[in-house]
Symmetry: C2
Subunit: 386 residues, 2 copies
């Protein structure tokens, strides 16, 4: 018998059970289970105990898992909601991009680093990793609240802006430098994608609805929804955005049809099965060995700035609505994830960024990721969906 | 941005849509959609059009997909059912293993091949690939019929017997030869596994039921069921049986709890999403280039023997019940799949079996796989579940 299948199944089982057990443990401490899933990855991953080093197959499955986390989040939102909170979300996103970038850049320059290195750190501090927030809000059953919609909406705009910054740093890291034409094309593509998904796609779904009904295969509605989710995820990745943004938009498009098409339970089945692999592998990538005392000081400052800058940038525009919504949005936008790590990786691979700067970004990602869920849960502790 | 995610998403999308479109096309021709999914793999795969060569990630996902096909099938069966049809299933399985092996061995010897090569072909003709049959019966909504249960039960015993034969050929192919001790250990392990799953495991599930209810994580029942499905799949692979047999047993164990635990829709969500990757990759592995005229003649004879031997071996023990049930069981046990290909691969890799003998087994697998679904559907054409 080939060795492969057995190995993959053991990995699938071990990661699933480790993540879910840690999740259960955290739930009992009244902390979000997703935090437990991430920490199980940190502890069992290659940089701590070293019991489980996720294989490439697990990373692929993790990638599919996060797509379904965002697809589920989109299913619970609906495009009309996003349009309604659109202006506020845009404001939150823009301020939440500018403030972290400026603070990050300024601190690194003050510390004596090169401008390019400072730009990388600033860029890594920009993009919110909405997957974790969406999961926490989903666990709390508050995805339908106005505040949650502002956060999810802002994360969408945030990613579009983050993608532009990513293009800038990718341009910095290539020998050819950054072309303005390339940048303009990217911005136009991203804007066209978002507008199409919000304003045009729901109409298309309305029109294909009777056609899907006539299909002969089993669960045709579900099959069509999955196909479109995969298509939009790929398209988003193709034009240089994160795949998860495409998945979120695809969820938005089907939100109005989720009950009628029987999508919810089936999509939740996939998400519940695959998402733990994503959160486990997020944790398993945190390299604890890169942390010297010097790096830790800088990392602490950068982490503090990363938290403060999102609180200020994302919270202040909403202060008129009261402290609580402003804080909730600020904290909801706090976690950084894949995009920050990708920015750091591009810098490291092109030799612009040192190992220690890379470690700073990794720690900042970890701290913001680990801190946001309990704080979010605390901020929502006495509220029912409203 | 790294190239990986985009590539994986494109593959996921293309295979899913190709398989489902082909499935829809076949449904409209009143053929089973699973046949369309396999043929989409043959046509678009590396040996025909070459548009899609599944990557390792896709093969991993396919492997998970077939596990959920069998888990779903088990969920619809229930261990009591299996015990009730147990004697008949055992009879069908034993005769259905002996007849193909003898016929395959005899033909290859008559043709002038070496004994070892003849043993390989005989062994490859033994193991039923119940995944395809289970899917067809599921599409027809007849999984709850007595005949379907005999087929699924026989496939379980068949795999246990097939595993012993696999151990024999694996022993043949290793320089050390086959140890009787090793063989005995394998048989005892397999029997213990089957008895445990059928007689002991359901009681354990009954006892943990109230404990699962007290868990704090979301969808705790579903999470526990998935964990146990992965555990048993791994265990089955670990002791040398096919992983899918473990998944099927896990499904059996939870069958009585499927409605109460809300498992069905969620498991169907996963199965509907992942199974097409399995059936597509089954198709994509059929290498059409190995087929010379000489090979085609032998392959045709072996395929005919493979069909005839299962019809005789599996059908005759049931002839007292009438022609129709006997035929249905014989045809249901007809498709060969992964195990046949694994046997052939072991022979090829150890140099015992030639390229052309390998091609014969591949064709036999393809023919039995492609033929069974339409014939099954035809045999069930005017019956409602009874």
């Amino acid at each position: 018998m080939p060795h492969g299948p057995e190995q993959l199944l053991l990995e699938l089982f071990a990661i699933f059970v480790a993540a879910k057990l840690a999740g259960e443990f955290f739930e009992r401490l009244h902390l979000p289970s997703v935090l437990g899933e991430i920490i199980s990855g940190v502890l069992l991953g290659p940089y701590a105990l070293g019991w489980i080093s996720p294989s490439d197959s697990i990373y692929s499955i993790a990638e599919i898992g996060v797509i379904f986390v965002l697809f589920s989040a989109g299913l619970e939102t609906g495009p009309d909601d996003l349009i309604r909170v659109g202006k506020k979300s845009l404001l939150v996103a823009v301020a939440g991009v500018v403030v972290p970038f400026v603070l990050g850049f300024a601190y690194m320059k003050w510390r004596g680093d090169a401008s390019t290195e400072a730009i990388f750190v600033g860029a890594a501090m920009v993009a919110t990793s909405v997957g974790i927030t969406a999961r926490v809000l989903g666990d709390l059953n508050v995805l339908s609240t106005q505040t949650a919609k502002i956060i999810l909406g802002a994360a969408v705009f945030d990613d579009i802006l983050g993608m532009v910054l990513l293009a800038v740093v990718a341009g910095l890291s290539s020998s050819a430098g950054l072309g303005w034409l390339h940048l303009t094309v990217l911005i136009v593509e991203a804007a066209a994608f978002a507008l199409f998904m919000i304003f045009v796609a729901p109409g298309i779904v309305r029109r294909i609805n009777p056609k899907v009904q006539r299909l002969s295969i089993q669960n045709a509605y579900f099959v069509v929804a999955i196909a479109i989710c995969l298509l939009f995820s790929w398209l988003a990745a193709k034009i240089g955005m994160a795949a998860i943004i495409g998945a979120f938009f695809a969820g938005l498009v089907f939100a109005d049809y989720a009950p009628q098409w029987g999508l919810r339970d089936r999509v939740i089945g996939i998400t519940d099965f695959l998402a733990p692999y994503f959160f486990f592998s997020i944790g398993s990538r945190l390299n604890l060995h890169l942390l010297t005392k010097d790096v830790m000081i800088a990392a602490t400052v950068v982490s503090a700035l990363a938290i403060l800058s999102k609180l200020l940038g994302c919270g202040l525009p909403l202060l008129r609505e009261g402290w609580l919504p402003a804080l909730r949005v600020g904290v909801g936008m706090m976690p950084r994830g894949e995009v920050a790590l990708i920015v750091a990786l591009i810098g490291l691979q092109s030799g612009i960024v040192t190992q220690s700067t890379y470690a700073i970004v990794v720690v900042m990602t970890g701290v913001t990721t680990l801190l946001a869920p309990p704080v979010l849960r605390h901020l929502w502790r006495d509220s029912l969906p409203s």
